[in-house]
C-alpha cells in the first residue's frame, strides 16, 4: 500500500462502485438540492411576479406576466447597492481579521505548549454565551459614549468578538487532528513555528479554514440586531437592516423583498462555487504522511 504523497488519489477514492450505492447518492443529492434551493427558487419566482398574484389560492411557479419592477425598485427606490457595499466592507474585514486572529490563536493553543489552554478555551466560550439581546443595550451606551455609533469599526469589533470563539474552537479541533509527527519532523529539520504554521498546518487544514471563513462571513453578512442598534443612516447600514427598512408602516412589499434576497444571496453562492473549486477539490487525503 504505497500512497505517493505528491499525488492525491483521484480515480477510485470515495465513490462506491455498487450501483445501488450510486443511485442512493444521486437520489439523496437531488433531495438535498430540492430541499435547500426549493424555497430560494420560489423566491426568485416571487420576485418576478406582480404582488397581486402572490396571494391567489393557486400559487404558480412560472410567473405570468413577468415583471422586473421589483428589481428596479430595490435599486432605484431603495438603494440596495449602498447597503450591499456596507455589508461587503463590514463582513469582508470581519472575516479577514477573524481568520487572522483566530487561526493564530488556535495554532498557539493547539501546538505551542500554553499552560491552561483549556481554561482559556473555556473562557473564550463562556464569555460568548451571554444572550446577545442583553449585550446590546450596554454596548450601545458604551459605543455612543465613545462616539462609535454609525461607524464601520463598531460593527467589525462586535462581529469579531461574536465570531472568534467559533473560529478558534473549530480550528483548534482541526489543528489537533493533524498528526504531531509531521510537526516534529519539520521541527527537527529546523523549521520555526511560524513556518510550520504557514507551510504545514494551514495548508493541511485548509478545508477547515475556508469553511470557518465562509461561516464567519455569512454570520457577519446576516447579522441584524447589532447592525440595527448601532447604525442609523444609509452610509453604514448593512443589508439585513436595509431589507427590514423596505417595510412601511404596515405594508410589506413582498416582491421587492424577494428580489432583494435574490440579489443578496446569489453572490454568496457564486463565492462558494469559486472557492470550492479552488480549495476543496482534490486536496489532502493521501498527502498526509503516515
Amino acid at each position: 500500500m504505497s500512497l505517493d504523497p505528491g499525488h492525491p488519489q483521484r480515480a477510485v477514492r470515495g465513490f462506491p462502485s455498487l450501483p445501488w450505492d450510486r443511485i442512493m447518492i444521486y437520489a439523496c443529492a437531488l433531495f438535498v438540492v430540492c430541499w435547500s434551493a426549493g424555497p430560494f427558487v420560489w423566491q426568485m419566482s416571487t420576485s418576478l411576479q406582480l404582488d397581486r398574484h402572490l396571494v391567489s389560492g393557486n400559487p404558480t411557479l412560472i410567473p405570468n406576466p413577468i415583471t422586473f419592477d421589483h428589481f428596479i425598485n430595490i435599486f432605484v427606490g431603495k438603494s440596495l447597492h449602498r447597503y450591499l457595499l456596507n455589508s461587503v466592507i463590514v463582513a469582508g474585514t470581519t472575516t479577514f481579521l477573524c481568520l487572522l486572529f483566530g487561526a493564530v490563536a488556535a495554532f498557539a493553543l493547539a501546538r505551542l505548549e500554553i499552560r491552561g489552554r483549556f481554561g482559556i478555551l473555556g473562557f473564550i466560550l463562556g464569555v460568548s454565551m451571554f444572550p446577545q439581546i442583553a449585550i446590546v443595550a450596554p454596548l450601545y451606551m458604551l459605543a455612543s459614549q465613545m462616539g462609535w455609533l454609525d461607524t464601520y469599526r463598531v460593527l467589525i469589533v462586535v462581529y469579531l468578538a461574536l465570531g472568534l470563539p467559533l473560529v478558534i474552537w473549530v480550528l483548534f479541533g482541526y489543528f489537533r487532528s493533524i498528526p504531531k509527527s509531521i510537526d516534529e519532523a519539520a521541527r527537527i529539520d529546523g523549521a520555526k513555528p511560524l513556518a510550520i504554521f504557514c507551510l504545514i498546518t494551514l495548508p493541511m487544514s485548509l478545508p477547515g479554514v475556508v469553511t470557518t471563513g465562509l461561516l464567519s462571513f455569512i454570520a457577519a453578512w446576516n447579522e441584524f440586531m447589532f447592525a440595527l442598534a448601532f447604525t442609523s443612516d444609509i452610509n453604514h447600514q448593512t443589508v439585513p437592516v436595509g431589507i427590514a427598512n423596505f417595510t412601511d408602516v404596515h405594508y410589506i412589499p413582498w416582491g421587492d423583498i424577494a428580489a432583494a434576497s435574490v440579489v443578496v444571496t446569489l453572490p454568496l453562492v457564486v463565492l462558494v462555487l469559486i472557492f470550492e473549486r479552488h480549495i476543496i477539490a482534490g486536496l489532502t487525503g493521501g498527502a498526509i504522511k503516515e
Binding site: V55, F96, I156, D189, H250, I252
Partner: protein, 443 residues
C-alpha cells in the same frame, strides 16, 4: 532547506494560485475597510450660524417623504438646521421603542425632536423624557386639533406630545357581495355574523378577518371589541382594572365565537397581523375585514388587488344598543426634555404641525390628520375620500389604556387573551389578566 515534507502537501494540481487569490482578495478587503473605517464624516456637516438639531423618526413611507420634509424645512429658513435620524420601520414597533428609549434615556439632548407612538406618550412623560409643551402651545391653539388626540397627548394635565396623525380600525367590506345578498352594511355584530355567513362560499372562503397574533395588534383589536360593548380595559383613573367585567368578557367571547362557533373567521388569525390578514381580503377571499387605513389605497391598486372598485369602508359594528368603537393609533411628535435647543426644536415642531404639512401627509399616505380644519380640505376629498366620510369614526376613536406602565399591561393582555382565544376559557384568562394587571398598575 528541506522541501521533501512540505512538497505536495495541500497543493492542488499545479497551482498555488488560490493562495495568491486569497491574499489579493483579502488585501483589497482590508484596504477598503481601512478607507471606510477612517471614520470619514458622513453625518451632515455643521452649517455655520445655524442651530443644529436632530429629528428621530421611523421612515413611514418607502419613498423618502420624511427626508424631503426635513429638507424643505431646512430650505425654508436660515436659523435652524435639522438632521434626520432614521429609526427602524414602525412595523417593528418594539424596535422603534427600543431605539427611542436607548437614546432618550441617555439624557444627552439628542434627538431634539422625535416621534412617539401614541401608546408611549404616558410612559415617556412619566419618565421625564418628553418636554411639557403647554408654555409653547396654549389651550386655544390646541382647540384646532381633535380633542381625543389632545387628551391622549396629555399626561397628568400637561401636554407632552404634539398631535401628528391618527389611525383607527375600520371595517372594510365587499360592495359586490352585499349587493348580491341585498344586505345593508352591518351595524351590530349579530348583523355582521349573519351577513358574513350568507356571503361565504366558493372563492370567498372567509366571512370576517381580523388580527389575533400575540402582539400589539391583538390589544388594538381587543380595545375595539371591548369598546363596542361599552366596556374598557382600565378605568378613566388609569388604575381600576375592568378587563374582567361582564362587558369585556362578552366581547372576548365574541372574538372566540367568530373563530370557533360561527366559523366566519379562520383560526389562522391567531398568527396574523396586519399584512397576512390584508392579503386574503384584497385577493377577494373574504366578505369583511377589520384593519387600519392603509388598506384602502392598496385595495384600489390594480397591481396589488383583485377587488378594485368593490371595496368600501364603514365604522366597525357594535353590540346592540352600544356604540361603535375604533382603536386609536398613530404617531405624535415630542420634544426631548433634555434638549439644549428648545427654541429651535419648537420652531421645527410648529412647522411640522402646520395645516399644510398635515394635508401633505394625509393626501400622500392616507394618514388621518389631527387638525380639524384639514378634514374639510377639498384636496383631501379628491384623493382620500373616505377620510372625510369617516370623520366621525376618527373623532370617536378610543385610546388603549393610558398608563405609564402600558408596555407591561399590553404584554399581559396579549398573553391572556391569546390563551382565551385558543382554549375558550374566557372567564379564567380574563380573571388572571385582571390579577396581574392590578399588581402592575397598583390599584
Amino acid at each position: 532547506m528541506p522541501k521533501k515534507l512540505t512538497d505536495g502537501v495541500g497543493k492542488p494540481d499545479g497551482t498555488g494560485m488560490r493562495r495568491r487569490d486569497f491574499i489579493v482578495a483579502s488585501g483589497a478587503a482590508v484596504a477598503t475597510a481601512a478607507v471606510g473605517a477612517l471614520g470619514l464624516p458622513t453625518r451632515l456637516y455643521a452649517q455655520t450660524g445655524r442651530t443644529e438639531i436632530t429629528f428621530a423618526s421611523p421612515r413611514f413611507f418607502s419613498t423618502d417623504t420624511t427626508q424631503q420634509l426635513v429638507e424643505a424645512y431646512n430650505k425654508s429658513q436660515n436659523s435652524v438646521h435639522v438632521s434626520y435620524v432614521e429609526l427602524p420601520p414602525p412595523s417593528s414597533s418594539t424596535e422603534v421603542h427600543q431605539q427611542l428609549v436607548q437614546q432618550l434615556a441617555r439624557k444627552t439632548g439628542s434627538p431634539d425632536v422625535f416621534t412617539q407612538d401614541i401608546i408611549w406618550v404616558a410612559e415617556f412623560a412619566a419618565a421625564g423624557w418628553a418636554l411639557p409643551l403647554d408654555s409653547y402651545f396654549g389651550a386655544d391653539e390646541m382647540k384646532a386639533y381633535l380633542p381625543g388626540v389632545v387628551q391622549a397627548c396629555t399626561w397628568k394635565g400637561q401636554l407632552t406630545a404634539m398631535p401628528w396623525f391618527i389611525d383607527s380600525g375600520k371595517l372594510y367590506y365587499r360592495t359586490d357581495i352585499l349587493e348580491k345578498l341585498g344586505a345593508t352594511v352591518p351595524e351590530t355584530w349579530d348583523d355582521l355574523i349573519e351577513t358574513a355567513k350568507k356571503g361565504m362560499g366558493g372563492d370567498v372562503r372567509f366571512g370576517f378577518i381580523w388580527q389575533a397574533k400575540q402582539a400589539e395588534i391583538l390589544t388594538c383589536d381587543l380595545v375595539s371589541f371591548v369598546g363596542s360593548n361599552g366596556g374598557s380595559i382600565l378605568g378613566p383613573d388609569g388604575k381600576t382594572v375592568k378587563i374582567a367585567e361582564p362587558e369585556a368578557k362578552a366581547a372576548v367571547q365574541l372574538m372566540y365565537d367568530t373563530i370557533h362557533k360561527d366559523k366566519i373567521t379562520p383560526a389562522d388569525v391567531l398568527t396574523w397581523d396586519e399584512e397576512p390578514s390584508r392579503r386574503p381580503f384584497t385577493a377577494g377571499q373574504s366578505v369583511f375585514l377589520r384593519n387600519w387605513s392603509y388598506v384602502w389605497s392598496i385595495a384600489q391598486d390594480k397591481t396589488q388587488s383583485d377587488v378594485v372598485g368593490k371595496v368600501e369602508v364603514a365604522p366597525l359594528p357594535h353590540f346592540a344598543g352600544k356604540k361603535s368603537a375604533a382603536c386609536l393609533g398613530g404617531y405624535q411628535y415630542g420634544v426631548n426634555a433634555s434638549t439644549k435647543n428648545k427654541e429651535a426644536a419648537i420652531d421645527f415642531l410648529r412647522w411640522l404641525s402646520t395645516p399644510a404639512t398635515q394635508l401633505h401627509f394625509a393626501t400622500e399616505q392616507g394618514f388621518v390628520p389631527t387638525r380639524l380644519s384639514v378634514f374639510d380640505e377639498p384636496e383631501l376629498a379628491k384623493t382620500q375620500p373616505f377620510i372625510q366620510k369617516l370623520k366621525n369614526v376618527s373623532l370617536g376613536a378610543i385610546p388603549r389604556p393610558v398608563t405609564p406602565k402600558y408596555p407591561q399591561v399590553t404584554l399581559i393582555l396579549q398573553s391572556e387573551v391569546s390563551r382565551a382565544l385558543v382554549s375558550g376559557d374566557v372567564e379564567g384568562s380574563l380573571n388572571k389578566a385582571k390579577a396581574q394587571i392590578e399588581k402592575i398598575v397598583g390599584a
